[in-house]
Amino acid sequence: MRADEATLARLMMMSQKGDKQAYATLLSECQRWLSRYYSRRIAPAQLDDLVQETLMALHNKLATWDSSRPFLPWMAAIARYRWVDHLRRLYRADECELVTDFAGQDDEPAIAARISIDRLLGMLPDPQARAIELVKIEGLSIAEASQATGQSESLVKVNIHRGLKKLAHMVEKA
């Protein structure tokens, strides 16, 4: 059974007061939610790492959630921030060897779609979003992405750089 917004918010309120049982349930639910959230937006081999990084960020920033506000948009903001940070680290490390076979299923409810990563990517101009998807998410080389998009190789690189910079500024936009 998947926990809904109200359940997660209640668990979070109890967790902020130090209830360890509620916190264990909350983190398990968050782990499942994050795995779905990131699916198809990160190489499968890196999914666990990113989910765990995000769980640690949630733990370190527990005090930044206010019980008068919804829980999922708070968690989504943290998840998006960690995702963009992850892509930027890949960019800096120039690790483009990601696999292309993604399973994942698109079964998020309509409300969750508003806080999804797809929506964040959708706010980028098409050439930038396409370059990031092909190289940073699907793992194509710059040359392959250049062929697939019709952009020159240097333009692909520029679009990735500019796109990641923009994403970093749009994490909280819905």
């Binding site: 130090g18 916190y23 765990q52 733990h59 920033k61 005090a63 708070w74 994490v171 819905a174």
Partner: protein
């Protein structure tokens, strides 16, 4: 990362301590208190403008000082809101206040090109530098408080948070020093008082992001 998620969750649960949610009202209270302390320190150290003391207000002074105060509060509010992440939150309200304050240097340029003020005289520059330095000094407490608040929070745009920290601190700092500076010349205010905001915004943009990344 080597451990599996279950082990990580068990570890995090074991480390759980009760936390007090950071509140918007408390953050704003700290920022405004810091601004008030800075203003009182300026008044105590340098004295208050004689016309303000006598209850007479120059219109240019009132408008310019009011604009700095509004920009300072708008930017500080944005910084405090940014410390609590939330998809769907808009952080752009401060831009309008900044656009209004930007009219001050524009007006200063227009007036100075028309020969309405001697901006290059030794006295003018010395007085301007005094405003720039003391105004920046009066910004530091607000700057420190906002950086501390951001470090407790979780800003998802550290670059912008740094810029806004500087804008808020600079605006409230020059507002504080405006209680002393008796110059009503739009050229002086537009150049030197706005310069404090620009200087602190640059410092905030350069220094704050590495301090508040998480």
């Amino acid at each position: 990362m080597t451990q599996n998620s279950d082990a990580l969750i068990a570890n995090l649960v074991g480390n759980l301590q009760p936390v007090k949610p950071i509140s918007f009202a408390r953050g704003l209270g700290y920022a405004l208190s810091a601004a008030a302390i800075s203003a009182l320190a300026v008044v105590a150290a340098f004295g208050i403008r004689p016309d303000v003391l006598a209850g007479r207000f120059d219109p240019v002074y009132l408008i310019a000082t009011g604009l700095f105060l509004v920009l300072g509060i708008a930017a500080a509010v944005t910084v405090i809101v940014m410390s609590r992440p939330q998809v769907g939150t808009d952080h752009s309200g401060w831009v309008w206040a900044a656009a209004m304050v930007a009219l001050l240097p524009v007006a200063a340029l227009i007036v100075s090109f028309g020969g309405g003020s001697d901006i290059l005289s030794r006295e003018s520059i010395a007085h301007g530098l005094e405003c720039l330095m003391v105004g920046s000094g009066a910004s530091l407490l607000v700057f420190a408080i906002l950086v501390g608040w951001l470090r407790k929070g979780a800003p998802t745009a550290p670059d912008r948070a740094g810029l806004l920290t500087g804008i808020a601190a600079g605006s409230l700092g020059i507002f504080a020093f405006s209680l002393h500076c008796a110059d009503n010349d739009i050229v002086h205010i537009g150049m030197w008082h706005s310069g404090v905001v620009l200087l602190m915004a640059g410092l905030g943009r350069a220094l704050v992001p590495p301090l508040v990344r998480w």
